[in-house]
Each structure stands twice: as C-alpha cells, then as structure tokens.
C-alpha cells in the first residue's frame, strides 16, 4: 500500500549520482533579471514549478524529475491522502465540539506532506513543525498521539525515536537547526540516512532558518529543507516575508533549491526522493519549496475572512491534490468504484477510532507537573512535589472529614 518498498528504494539509489548531479541545478533555470521585473507573477510560478500531474489529472513529464510508480504505490498515495484529510477533518470537528483546545489543519497540503513523507526511508529522521499530520501518518505515528498536545494533556505525545519523527515544534523555525545538527551527527557517524526539516513560508524569515542554511551548507550536512509555502503566515502573505521566490534563497547559501507543485503528490515524491538521495550521497543540503495553499484557517482560533478573499481559496480549490490524483487513477483504470468505496469505509472507521480515542483520553495526573523536569532529578523539584502533594492531600482530608460528618 505504501511506496516504501525496498525495490523502489534501490532503484532510486542506483541511479542517484547521475540524476542528482543533473538535478542539482534547477534553480539556474530561473533568470534573476526576469524575476525582478515580473515579480511574483502567476506565470513565473508556473514556469518554475516541477509538476508531474496537472490540476486536471494529466500525467506530464519533467526533464529532471521522473517517477515510475506501480499501481499499488499509486493507490497507496491516494489512500494516504484521503485518510490524512479525514483525520484532519475529524480533529477540526473535535475542536468545535470542545474536545480539543486548538487544531492546526493541514487541509490542502496533503500532497506536499504525503509526497515528501513517502520519499523517506525508515532510518531517515524528520523534524516537523506543528502541522505535519500527513508526514506523521507516513512515519507510522498513531494519529491519536498527535492530539494530546492540542487537547492539552501533554506537550508531545510520542517517543520521537520510535518512528524517527521528532516532536512538533511551535516556536517557528527552531527545528531547522535541530535538523541540521542531527544531520551533522549522522554525517559524523558515517551513516547514510538523511534528515528532513519542515517549516513554513513565514518561518523562512526567522534567523534560525538562515542559520540552519549556513550551517548545513558549511558542513555539507545531509539535510533536506522542506518549506511548505502555503501562501500565508496567519494573516501575512508570503510577500511580507520575501521578495524572491523562496526556493531561490538556497543559492545564496551555496546549495540548490527547487520549487515543486505542492499539490502534486507525484512531483513532491520525486523531488524529495532526489533531494534525500543527494544528501545520502554526500552532496549536502537542498531546499524544496512546495508551492501549495492552506485551504482552512491558520488554526481553529483564526478567522481568515479578515484578511483574504474567497476567490483566492476558490482558485486553489481547482488544484485540489486528492481530486487530481483520483482523476488520473480513474482515467488509467488503476482504481474502480469498489476500491474507492473501500477507502471511504476505511476513512469512516479511522474517523470513529480517532473520535473514540480522544473522548477517552484522560486528563493527566496532577503530579505530572513535576515529572521529567530533569533527567537526573533536582532537589527543588522534589521539595515542591512533596509540598504540592501535601497541599492536595489536605483537600482530600477535608472532603473525607466533611463526608464523615
């Protein structure tokens, strides 16, 4: 069902050196002068997007990035996207019902996340931000584990080393440095795994992101920077963060950048695979800008009608990542009614499982406040824990006494 088959992997690795060397320079195609003059026009974007599947669901070729997937793998990508969207919708509903304090929806970004997530090998390491629910899915993190922090029962909810999927990071951009450092460690160990850091177009303005570019370039660290440019950072459009297309930033730091159609799961998969392969084979970092759109609000606390027009959303609706893959799969006869129905059924079951799990999720014990503050313990924490326990116990006693009366 997934596209992580070993045959696939070997294939990519076998041809990596040649193709990667060729791939490494797509940024050169863009003429800086032309960009300066035309600004961020729709046409310029179209010219530079790596695309393998058009919004109409037609398969197209790209000179630098090709992909050949089996019917099973293609169906797997479809299933991943549908289930991720379902999970996301369920979480949004649960927030509305008061089961979650907040939710950051990935609606519209399924292809960017599933495409890049399915390009990863098990031994790769992922540093996500707070919206990478689809990548988490690809890593095998149980989706219900993602909800604890949004419900307010924990700050993480999973062991990062189980699936090589780090905790969500809320302070924007911070994790890009962690990814770089981790990649430097991988390199020192002589391992051939790669590291991927996710961040947004807004986060690209942070000093930490620039510093991670510098470090990764200087040390030739095996890290892939995957920027999901969903056009908005809460209320601020990408123009408030940059005046050059984001992928072009990489060049100034000394590594290649490429812009991929973020609503095209095949292109996201192909480009990320190539970038990971570069990293694995010692060719250093690469920046991928997945050009996509946040269809929903920034989070459930946000009201996008305050700052963006409905027409914009409607225009992007026509580029829906799931619909276009489905159109393609149907036209090729890769999926039929029965298959689609089975995915819908699986999707409903997932929704129910998530709903039940969240409703059953217990509040943490009061004493959890003092747990894991230090790895080796700390006298002050011990003292405060004891004081707090005694304080809490005083109420229990009072209640018991009251009952006794």
């Amino acid at each position: 069902m997934t596209v992580e088959g070993t045959a696939q992997r070997k294939n990519t690795r076998g041809s990596s050196k040649r193709t990667a060397a060729k791939k490494a320079t797509p940024a050169k195609k863009a003429s800086p002068a032309q960009d300066r003059n035309s600004g961020r026009t729709e046409q310029a974007e179209q010219d530079q997007l790596v695309q393998l599947l058009t919004p109409e669901g037609e398969r197209v070729e790209h000179p630098d990035y090709s992909i050949d997937l089996s019917p099973d793998e293609l169906r797997g990508l479809y299933r991943d996207m549908v289930l991720t969207r379902k999970f996301d919708a369920e979480a949004t509903t649960l927030q509305r019902q008061g089961e979650l304090g907040l939710w950051a929806s990935l609606l519209g970004q399924e292809a960017a996340q599933i495409g890049s997530g399915r390009a990863l090998r098990d031994d790769d390491y992922v540093f996500p931000t707070y919206r990478e629910h689809g990548v988490a899915w690809c890593r095998g993190v149980d989706p219900t584990n993602l909800l604890g922090m949004f419900r307010g029962v924990n700050h993480g909810g999973w062991d990062p080393n189980t699936n090589n999927f780090h905790l969500y990071t809320i302070v924007i951009g911070s994790q890009t440095l962690h990814a770089t450092g981790y990649a430097m460690g991988v390199q020192k160990d002589g391992a051939d795994s790669a590291v991927i850091a996710y961040f947004g177009d807004g986060a690209s303005s942070q000093g930490d992101v620039a510093e991670s570019f510098t470090f990764s370039a200087v040390y030739n660290a095996p890290v892939v920077f995957f920027c999901q440019n969903n056009q908005w950072a809460i209320s601020e459009p990408t123009e408030k963060q940059t005046r050059v297309p984001l992928y072009q930033r990489a060049r100034g730091f000394g590594f290649p950048g490429v812009r991929v159609d973020g609503n095209d799961v095949l292109a996201c998969l192909a480009v990320t695979r190539a970038a990971l392969e570069r990293a694995r084979t010692g060719q250093g970092p690469m920046l991928i800008e997945a050009f996509t759109y946040r269809m929903g609000a920034h989070t459930t606390s946000d009201d996008p009608t305050k700052y963006r027009a409905d027409e914009e959303r409607e225009a992007w609706e026509a580029k829906d990542p799931i619909l276009r893959l489905r159109t393609y799969l149907e036209s090729e006869g890769i999926v039929d009614e029965a298959y689609l129905a089975s995915i819908d059924k699986e999707s409903d079951a997932l929704g129910k499982r998530v709903r039940d799990a969240v409703r059953a999720m217990p509040d943490p014990d009061d004493m959890a406040i003092f747990e894991n503050v230090y790895a080796d313990g700390h006298a002050l924490v011990d003292e405060e824990r004891a004081q707090f326990a005694a304080y809490q116990a005083s109420f229990v006693d009072a209640d018991a006494a009251a009952e006794g009366n």
């Binding site: 922090m149 302070v171 303005s205 209320s235 305050k306 943490p364």
Partner: protein, 327 residues
Amino acid sequence: MAVFEKITIAKAINESLRASMEADPKVLVMGEDVGKLGGVFRVTDGLQKDFGDDRVIDTPLAESGIVGTAIGMALRGYRPVVEIQFDGFVFPAYDQIVTQLAKMHARALGKVKVPVVIRIPYAGGIGAVEHHSESPEALFAHVAGLKIVTPSNSSDAYWMLQQAIAGDDPVIYFEPKRRYHDKSRLDTESIPDPLHKARIAQSGADLTLAAYGPMVKVCLDVAKVASEEGKSVEVVDLRSLSPIDFDTVQSSVEKTGRLVVVHEAPVFFGAGAEIAARITERCFYHLEAPVLRVGGFHSPYPPSRLEDEYLPGLDRVLDAVDRALAY
C-alpha cells in the same frame, strides 16, 4: 476626550495606541499580524485602517528582526511600539533586547535614546498550547536598562501604555492576556498615577497581598473571601516590576505586619524573591511572619489541562494567607 464607562483591557490598549499615535506622528506600531488582522487578540484592530501601513507595520516573522529594526528606528527618532505575539516567542528577540536595547543608552554616554516599547501578552489561564502561557518577567527585570510594567485594569492599561510610549527608556509592557476581555472603568480625565507607582487596590489591616497583572484579580477575590472569614486583607497592585515601588509595599506591611507575594511565574528566582528580601530588610521589626510567596513551580508551564493546578488560585493564596496569619 470621552470618559468611557466600562471597557475591556484589550480595547483600552487599543484606545491608548490610538491616542499615542494621534499625539505623536513618530509613534509606530510593529509586529506580526498587527495590520489587517488587528493582531491575534485584536488589540491593534482598526489602527492600520486609520493610520496606514506606514505606521502600523506588518513585519516578517522574525522577532529578532522586529526588535532589532525597532531599535534602529528609535535611533532615527521614531517611537516604535512592538507587539510580540505571545510570551514564549519573545526569545528569538531576547538577544536584541538584552544585549542591545537595554544597554545602548549607557554605552553611548547617555547621548542616544532608544524609546522602544515592547508589548507582550503574557501568563496563562487561557487553555493554550505550549509557549503561549509563560511569565518571563523576571528574566527581563534582571536586566538593567529596561523598565517593566504590567497593568491589571483598563484605566492602567490605557494610561501606562501612553506613559511608556512617551518616556525615553525601553519599556517591556506585559499584558495579562487572560484579563483582556475583563471590563473595568476607564477614566480618561483624572490625572493618572505615575508609571512606576504601586496602588492599594483594596485596603485591609491584617495582611498584605502584593501582586501584579493577572494575579491582582485573584488577590481581590481572596480579600473578599478572607473578609467573610473575618480577616482583613490589603491588596497592593505593584503595576511596575522595574523599578518596584517598595515604599508603598513597605507602608502597607508596616501597617499589617504580614506579606504574601503572589505571581504566576515560578517562585524560584522570581519577583517574589526580590520583594521578600527587600521588605524583610526594610520591615524586619514590623513583620509578624516570614514573607511568603505563592507562584508557579520549578517546572515547564504544564499542558493546559493542568494549568488550574499550576496557577495560583483562590485556594492556594488563601492557604498562604492562613499560614502567614498562623505565625
């Protein structure tokens, strides 16, 4: 100018920014989402519409950049009022604030001024995810060159911000976010208290509670409950943490003989430690009990389902009041 009846703290800050911008064309508002959106708490709502995007500036998402460029604009004669979206996001700017903003006036032998005001919605109680509920005031109060204030009601919110903007020093203006929607009377006509003066929010005879920002309301509630139990509690709203008006606290403690300091921030190395030490020094012979502190634990701010346990509430403060009175 009108005297408003009852108004929320958020609206009072909005009116204050408006008044400052009208009074001085050099006043600028800067930050993430402060323009069209009016900030994530809508505190800057409508300002960009009325003053233009030249004076109400949506910045890139870079806190070090926001504060660093504000410093530069201040050096050029502007008065930037910077919004940091949430307490936990000030740290990328901490370097600029601590190493540059705080020290520049001294390094330039007093020849340059950097009147930057940094507004930070702070502290917890709103059920948020991590980094959205912290009380980092002690980290700033420890730094010479910065002034730190935090209002607890609408009139103070309105006046203290204008005073901060009009002053020539850098000011960190902490906004108690869980009180944003609390309404209280805004008096736009009487002469306001000086920016760094503490205020007796409730007078009493047996014990002094010193608090600031979001905890003032909790302490007023405590005073009410205590009075039903026959105890007379005085509440001092500190309003300013750098400098602290120790004189007002001292006179109160000389009268009551007991002091409990309450804040949300962790007790360890917190504002309460400074106040306890100073008041012990000043009022040693008046004190009937050691100065007690109620605050957060030495732990990361917990997930929201535990914040009611973590935050000092009525019961924990009353417990401290009882302990102090028991000496």
